[in-house]
């Protein structure tokens, strides 16, 4: 459960996004999420919603996410009640708002909803190897610490695909890259997983990349976004756009 707490500096948390200093410099208002903080907004919300609809960049690294891989991972996921996409490089939304993507036939990526309240993700988060290996369906199923290996950014808005074409060689335009589709590609010369997950009518792309490079990527994206008046936005604007549907 998230709640707004603008007075809590992100730096007091145990878990800190590598970008929290950037957010603080931009006078971000944070909301707490467990032992981490998420940028709620940087300024006036209505304007930020409009910015996000045009071109916005949000740091969602504090949101839960997890991965599993191995020959037994798909079967085990089904046993947990997870709906899987039919083929790799696609994702499906779960009943609780979580997003489950297949990165290969044997690798799953599970992202929380924007509130960070997905029961599925939160139930899986504490799952460790010890518990996995002891249950029969979990044979050949291995946990991947995606929350720490990968940062999670969201690029939103009608100009997103055009902006991406400055840093990425995959055609992400809406009529070429469908809702739920996943691209595992190079973004500004770093490996990235791009998941299209629109906020109602607003195009939205989750970008997962090596967390140690996220400051570099953040700067690259902001630089590419300037041409389209893109700006950093908080999760509140994203939630508002998602609610428009």
């Amino acid at each position: 459960m998230t709640h707004v707490n603008s007075s809590q500096p992100a730096m007091q948390n145990q878990r800190r996004s590598p970008l929290y200093r950037r957010h603080t410099e931009l006078k971000a208002e944070f909301e707490s999420l467990g032992d981490a903080s998420l940028v709620s907004r940087y300024g006036e919300l209505a304007a930020e919603i409009e910015s996000a609809a045009q071109l916005g960049l949000a740091d969602l690294s504090a949101l839960p996410r997890i991965g599993f891989k191995g020959a037994g991972a798909p079967q085990w996921a089904i046993s947990q009640g997870i709906k899987l996409p039919e083929s790799p490089n696609h994702s499906v939304v779960q009943d609780d708002g979580a997003l489950v993507g297949k990165l290969s036939h044997q690798e799953l990526l599970i992202l929380s909803d924007l509130a960070g309240s997905s029961a599925l993700v939160n139930s899986l988060e504490p799952v460790q190897i010890e518990s996995l290996k002891q249950s029969e369906p979990a044979a050949q199923t291995y946990h991947l610490p995606r929350a720490h290996s990968h940062s999670c950014l969201a690029v939103t808005g009608t100009a997103a695909a055009e902006m991406f074409s400055k840093v990425c060689g995959v055609d992400l335009r809406s009529h070429k890259f469908a809702q739920g589709q996943i691209a595992q590609t190079s973004l500004a010369k770093i490996n990235a997983v791009i998941v299209r997950h629109d906020l109602a009518e607003t195009p939205c792309f989750y970008v997962l990349s090596d967390i140690s490079t996220v400051e570099f990527l953040w700067d690259c994206l902001l630089d590419a976004m300037q041409e389209y008046a893109g700006v950093p936005v908080g999760v509140a604007a994203l939630r508002s756009l998602a609610a428009r549907g």
Partner: protein, 966 residues
Amino acid sequence: MKNRLPAPYGQLIDREQQIDFSFEKKSYSGFAGDSIASALAANDQWLLSRSFKYHRPRGALTMAGQDANTLVQLPSNPNALADRETISQDLAVMAQNYSGSLNHDRGALLGLFSRFLPVGFYYKAFFKPRGIWEKWAPLIRKKAGLGVIDQQLEPEYYDKQYKFYDVVVVGAGPTGMQAALTAAVDGCEVLLVDENPSLGGSLNYARFDAEGTVASETKERLIATIKANKNISCMTNSLVNGWFGDNWLPIISGKRLYKVRAKQTILCTGALEQQAVFHNNDLPGVMMSSAAQRLMHLYAVRPGKASVIVTGNNDGYANALDLMDAGVEVKAIVDLRDQPPETSLTKAAKLRGIQIKLGYAVYAAKKKGNHLSAVEIRKISAHGLCEHQYQTIACDLLCMAIGYTPTYQLACQAGGQLSYDDQSSMFTLKNLPDGLQVAGSVNSYWELSNCLEEGARAARAATHALGFTQGDAEQPIPRENQSPNHSWPIFSHPKGKEFVDFDEDLTIADIINATSDGYEHIQLVKRYSTCGMGPSQGRHSALAAARLVAAATNRTVAETGVTTARPPFAPEHLGHSAGRSFYPARRSNMHYRHLEAGAEMLQAGAWYRPAFYGRSEERDQCINNEVNNVRNNVGLVDVSTLGGLEVRGPDAGEFLNRIYTFGFVKQPLGKARYALLTNEAGVVIDDGVACRFAEDHYYVTATTGGVDRVYQSMLKWNAQWRLDVDIANVTSAYCGVNIAGPKARQVLSKVCDAIDLSNEAFPYMAVRQAEVAGIQARLIRVGFVGELGYEVHVPQQYGEALWDALMAAGKEDNIQPFGIEAQRVLRLEKGHIIIGQDTDAMSNPTEVQMGWAVSRNKPFFVGGRTISELENKTINRSLVGFVVHDPKAPIPKESHLVLDGQQMSGRVTSCNYSPTLGKAIGLAYVEPSKAAPGSQISIKSTAGVLVSAEVVALPFYDPQAARQEL
């Protein structure tokens, strides 16, 4: 602007916007949209530059940015094309490559000595006596080169962008526009791209009929339809500068390089008009026929007052009509043909009373000042020969309309082969790859109706291939009967100066002499003579040169061929290649704590790491202090960059057993084991520790720079072995620190009370999982720096909190951070090697004294067989420790040579001053006879100073390893 024509001439200029600029420091005015060359021409300034070799006066030749005559110097840009670069307010333009003044160039005297500067002059003149080139080179280099680079210029912002289309049509002339329209069926995304400011191509300036109405009507109709079609995107002022595999097209537009992916590409690149070759054919005032038409129609500039047209096709007649319409006197049409076919254009020319000289050639041009003043015409008597009688016609403009070469460069870059029919003087392009087509005049179709049908044909073929449309395979339309190319517009003159290549000042004699010197192949002629190697890349010299070489070597032009076309099509700014490059940087979660503590950062690969903490001018002292603090107290170092690999599954132990040199199957739970990695050749390529947390779970560390390779190697091997094991690279998922020093346990215990940290309960090389400062952590007791130490690995986003907690816990014990440099000294004192620094591409375990890390009791590991064979052979070098006893001796550096007399016998791999031992210590490869402790070696240090060192047993520090096992 006395040469301006009234509207509607001047499609590209805006007469409402006057622009003031300067050329050679003299002020001029033009209109917005004017090129530098057109604005100067409007002001009767025709001389633009001086030629490269003989400094001959040169002016506009193509008015299409296709020649080197118009290269000028802009404040921030040398070698700008004056006929492509538009003017801007207060732009300061200078000419290039002259001595004295542009009008009176002292360098032009070189032309008087041209007979002493034959082709190949450089090769013949400057190699004797030996060493003379060193004298000549500075003089020649001073004369060579054209523009001047502003080295103070601040880099401007260039970037790149991808674009994706189903069909890309290159060239927006009539063929290209029709191709785009036909291709733009439902769902088919089409890009129409042209290097010029507007769509239309030749429809913007050429004349196709006697009345002069067809071009504009066709253009308006096509453009209106294109603009109404939402499937077509247009890019003008955009140059497709190459063709790469799978229709990857680099398009330069402004300060952006577009990387365009096309499923189908249609090249409608048109053709390049060629010059006639005769005496003084390079004078300002002599220009392509199409250049004169461009000046009139695009820029409203009258190209001259009195003109002559030398032609071999209908286009010369069309131009004559255009010139007359613009008020330019046409003194004569000099037609190389005896009996040109009668067309509406030839009839119209006759009706207008133009003097037409059939079977004549322009034999020579004459000048007054630096401009054309007259031409000498003669009756053609035979192939390339003229009668002695001549007629002089005064004129200030000579238009050349003798033929074209297809703009074949992109097609040839794609693998197309250019063929030439000596009978019809027609070119064809063959062997084009799938997904690429040519249409229009690049495919040797010239009639407007044929070009339009060609465009439609190519587009239909493209949409059929993409599945947007269905139909029978497209058939080529019939070839035209008449070629616009005259077969031999080349006329030698006793005084030479009939230029084949304007860029390099190469004449007929130069090309023929190249063949006489034995360079008969066209590629050799190019390299020997430099023909086609200038800025215009042979666009106007390739055909003439091929014809001359063919004649000189008794071959056909088809047999002779043309030289290879390679990308780029035109020169491009370095900014387009370099602009907005990405250099990924990696930072640990603790990065800013290092900066706040005053760290001097260094980059190891993409990672930023703290080298040491303190002022750079106190570097050595800082490092020494950090070393001493670890040895005597407690220090903290960020080891987040270390590679981390999860190896999990029932076969995890067996897998590690095969990968690494040690044994791992029987490794106890809760213990770490040194892991040395070799390749199939037995070469040491990485190391780390393997921590066993469960029967089927190992957490393996790897070197910062090597982990990606190790991970790839593991995946590769297991793809063969098919063991039941999973390998995951979790390097970035974990942050790590090493807390080291006698007080490490004391400090760590303040934030870790969940486990017993005592030596008995948690001994050296043990591993544990426990909370540290409330964070779930993996703890490894290691001894890389030779002291009591714990590596603490936590999930990445907790790194900074861990750092804060340990620094706070150690505050009263004066814990200090230490950097990579101190760590290097500490490990060196302990005799630990660094893979990649103390090893090279040949190092095997025996050489580097790591034989102890190789198991002989297991059936297989990667490199094992080679290592066992190597162990049975005599080694020829050994990595040893050495000490420099002389405190005044310079400290050797990495890669300094170990000498045996005058012979090199080894090299230093590591060397530092050891604050613990009070002297310089190091590691070096030496010959085996010098490997025994007590041996003396000589090291050639900085500035050649020989340093004596003594080989000692490793480690230098704490040989009983008591410190790390406290």
